[in-house]
């Protein structure tokens, strides 16, 4: 039978949210077992972040030696997260984010992270420092940690989640984890798209297995694309370096005809949409529009250069962001010479963050008993568009999910899983290894990634989404016939690819169907055929629930605590401008 590991709480995911949850569970006197799909503390989306940590300026100003605008307030920050999210946010989750942000920052500082700079509402640190800090803390808190181990399926008895079946990817052995509660912290599903800005391990495993186990998902149509991501040369594809640089210094964006793209838009939109983190939605939309209109370059992007910005200003910013034009193992000196000569590089939008995910309440409980979720894999506080930091989100969520999962685990008995159930899961997981003939996954994944970017990217329409759903349906029908050429168990890439594809196809399917049903434009969801933000009909969350082998998407009224959303219908960019104008008087990039 399967190897067995017994724990109190199983934490699935080795990014910041998983580590924080596991640490807090151990501090409550329970055993926490953390699974990291990739290298410990170098896995998930967290190590790829810049990284900024946001909190209200009033609280930030009380930290020794840090900036922070004392005239800011939690109320102002609440207003800003809500308008940046186009009013689709769960207001209870916004309040939680604001309340816990200063508490979690204080803890991180105690754990030894260093701050590079701070502004009105943000501290800028290094994601590597964050990961090293949580890793060291987890070690001293006695978190049981597994590297290169992922969870493939949750185990449910009478509606209660009691563990799962995982894979040690290096050895190819399956492991049965017996737990009293499970925290899913597996981040997004970046690998469904290419290019993307995430790690290669981000395939939505946690969201998909929660869905299969019966948990509800929400707002899956909202996907943020980071703008100005390098598309060429291949060695740098997916790097957000021009995004970071442009946020600090600005620069010029031109299409294949050499036309200045930013000049085509309202100067107010351009000002806010380049100098603040509104840039992700605004620039991704306007640059993708150029590409859709046939004015893009050979790799599907546009040109970014420093334009009128002086080389001295660029150099000064770079010396802070990537000293000597290096960032860990990446060397941008060739790009530096191009910038100096005012030569362009090709950039475009690349998938970066998923606003939707597993449906949670303010206790980070899902719709299943014993199942908690934290971080990007949840439908979190950001509504239709995220501007504030996701690094803050992982610590706020990790704390809450960890504490509540521990409390639950203390109260329940361990349930025994029927060995027949384990064998059935084992057989399903191993099936691609035993089939002699079948379809091979590698090419199929590449095809899916290409179509996902094209049809579920920053600009969508009915025809494209329907075509995409047809493609996905065909692949879904082919899934049971997939087989590996490679029959060895050790580090078998094809085997994992098939298991991941199932998750990717499922989540793309749900996302595309929700995007098709939402016949309006809001936040990062822009519909060419419905270019209006419709506050009379669409201030609703999309909720998806599995029903046998299919799913149903229905609509849930907003969770409101204090702020009533607006009414009326407005063209997309007009409403975006209104939302930018509703920003409080607190300055900064958020």
């Amino acid at each position: 039978m399967l190897n067995k590991i017994v724990t109190d709480v199983l934490v699935v995911g080795g990014g910041g949210a998983g580590f924080k949850a596991a640490i807090d569970i151990c501090q409550k006197g329970l055993k926490a077992t953390l699974l990291s799909k990739g290298p410990l503390s170098r896995s998930g989306a967290t190590p790829m972040a810049g990284a900024d940590y946001t909190l209200d300026g009033e609280s930030l100003s009380k930290f020794n030696g840090l900036n922070g605008d004392p005239n800011d307030s939690p109320e102002k920050m609440f207003n800003d997260i809500l308008t940046q999210g186009w009013f689709l946010n769960n207001q209870k989750l916004i309040e939680q984010y604001i309340n816990l942000a200063p508490v979690c920052l204080r803890e991180l500082l105690e754990w030894g992270i260093k701050i590079k700079l701070s502004d009105e509402r943000m501290v800028f640190t290094s994601s590597i420092e964050i990961m090293n800090a949580v890793y060291n803390k987890a070690k001293s808190a006695n978190v049981e940690m597994f590297e290169d181990v992922l969870l493939l399926e949750l185990l449910v008895i009478d509606g209660k989640v009691v563990g799962g079946v995982g894979l040690d990817f290096k050895s190819g052995e399956l492991i049965y984890f017996s737990a009293k509660a499970v925290v899913i912290a597996t981040g997004g599903w970046h690998k469904a798209f290419w290019p993307n800005t995430g790690m290669r391990d981000l395939t939505g495993d946690g969201i998909a297995m929660a869905y299969r186990a019966g948990a509800d998902l929400g707002n899956m149509e909202f996907i943020t694309f980071c703008n100005n991501v390098l598309l060429h040369p291949p060695i740098w594809k997916g790097s957000i370096a021009p995004y970071v640089l442009s946020l600090f210094v600005g620069g010029s964006l031109t299409n294949r005809h050499g036309e200045n793209i930013l000049e085509k838009y309202d100067p107010y939109l351009v000002e806010k949409g380049t100098k603040t983190e509104w840039n992700k939605s605004f620039i991704s939309y306007i640059t993708e529009k150029e590409v859709k209109e046939g004015k893009g370059l050979s790799h599907g992007g546009v040109h970014y250069s420093r334009g009128n910005v002086s080389w001295e200003k660029v150099e000064a910013a770079a010396s802070l962001l990537f000293p000597e034009w290096k960032y860990r193992g990446i060397n941008f000196s060739e790009w530096a010479s191009k910038l100096k000569d005012n030569q362009p590089v090709e950039v475009g939008p690349a998938v970066e963050y998923f606003e939707g995910g597993i449906l949670v309440n303010e206790h980070l409980e899902t719709s299943l008993d014993g199942l908690y979720a934290a971080g990007e894999c949840t439908l979190g506080p950001f509504g239709a568009n995220r501007v504030f930091s996701a690094i803050t989100e992982i610590f706020v969520h990790g704390t809450t999910a960890g504490i509540n999962a521990a409390k639950y685990a203390k109260e329940v008995d361990r349930l025994k899983v029927d060995p027949k159930k384990l064998s059935a899961i084992k057989n399903r997981i191993e099936a691609p290894l035993y089939k002699t003939n079948g379809l091979h996954p590698a090419q199929i994944r590449m095809k899916i990634q290409k179509y996902a970017h094209k049809y579920l990217g920053p600009i969508r329409n009915k025809q494209g989404l329907e075509e995409f759903l047809n493609i996905l349906d065909k692949i879904k029908q082919e899934m049971p016939y997939m087989a590996t050429i490679d029959k060895k168990r050790t580090y078998n890439k094809e085997w994992l690819e098939i298991l991941e594809l199932e998750n990717i196809v499922q989540l793309l399917n749900i996302s595309a169907r929700s995007a098709l049903l939402r016949t309006e434009s809001r936040g990062v969801h822009y519909r060419e055929d419905y270019p209006y933000t419709d506050n009379n009909n669409w201030l609703l969350e999309s909720i998806t629930r599995r029903i046998n082998s299919d799913f149903k998407t229905c609509w849930r009224p907003l969770t409101i605590t204090t702020a009533m959303p607006p009414t009326g219908v407005a063209p997309y960019l007009n409403f975006m401008k209104q939302m930018m104008q509703s920003h409080s008087d607190t300055k900064g990039k958020h």
Binding site: K37, G38, P39, L40, R42, S43, P47, M48, I128, Y135, E147, D148, F169, K170, M199, R200, D201, H232, P233, P234, I235, W236, G238, S239, Y327, R328, G329, I330, N331, H440, A442, Q443, M446, T484, I485, D486, K488, R489, T490, Y491, N492, K493, E494, L496
Partner: protein, 110 residues
């Protein structure tokens, strides 16, 4: 047609201690693209030529951040994802590490 101008030869170390008696080398001819990395060449092999080739990429960043793709390229340890290909290459696992399969080795103990 692939020729010397538009292609490179990628010679790769192959070994699975659970199945193979001893290591061997396998050479692939891969289309050359300006600005490609060793990792890009291996990706090409996996997708188009040989899906049994093992290199650490089920997780990892491909942008020089996680350092997990370190291997020997033409005899020197380097990050495969940030090593730019300009000529034929020989790719081997890091020395003094337990080989899991092909280019995948046990990580350093922390």
């Amino acid at each position: 047609m692939l020729n010397r101008e538009n292609s490179i030869r990628v010679k790769v170390f192959r070994y699975d201690p659970n199945y193979d008696k001893e290591p061997h080398y396998q050479t692939y001819v891969v289309p050359y693209e300006e600005g490609m990395s060793v990792m890009n060449a291996l990706d090409y092999i996996y997708y188009n030529m040989d899906s049994t080739l093992a290199f650490y990429d089920h997780a990892g960043c491909y942008l020089g951040i996680c350092y997990r793709c370190t291997a020997k390229v033409n005899g020197k340890p380097s990050l495969m994802c940030q090593n730019k290909v300009t000529e034929d290459i020989l790719v081997e696992p890091l020395e003094k590490r337990k080989i899991i399969r092909d280019l995948v080795v046990e990580p350093k103990k922390r």
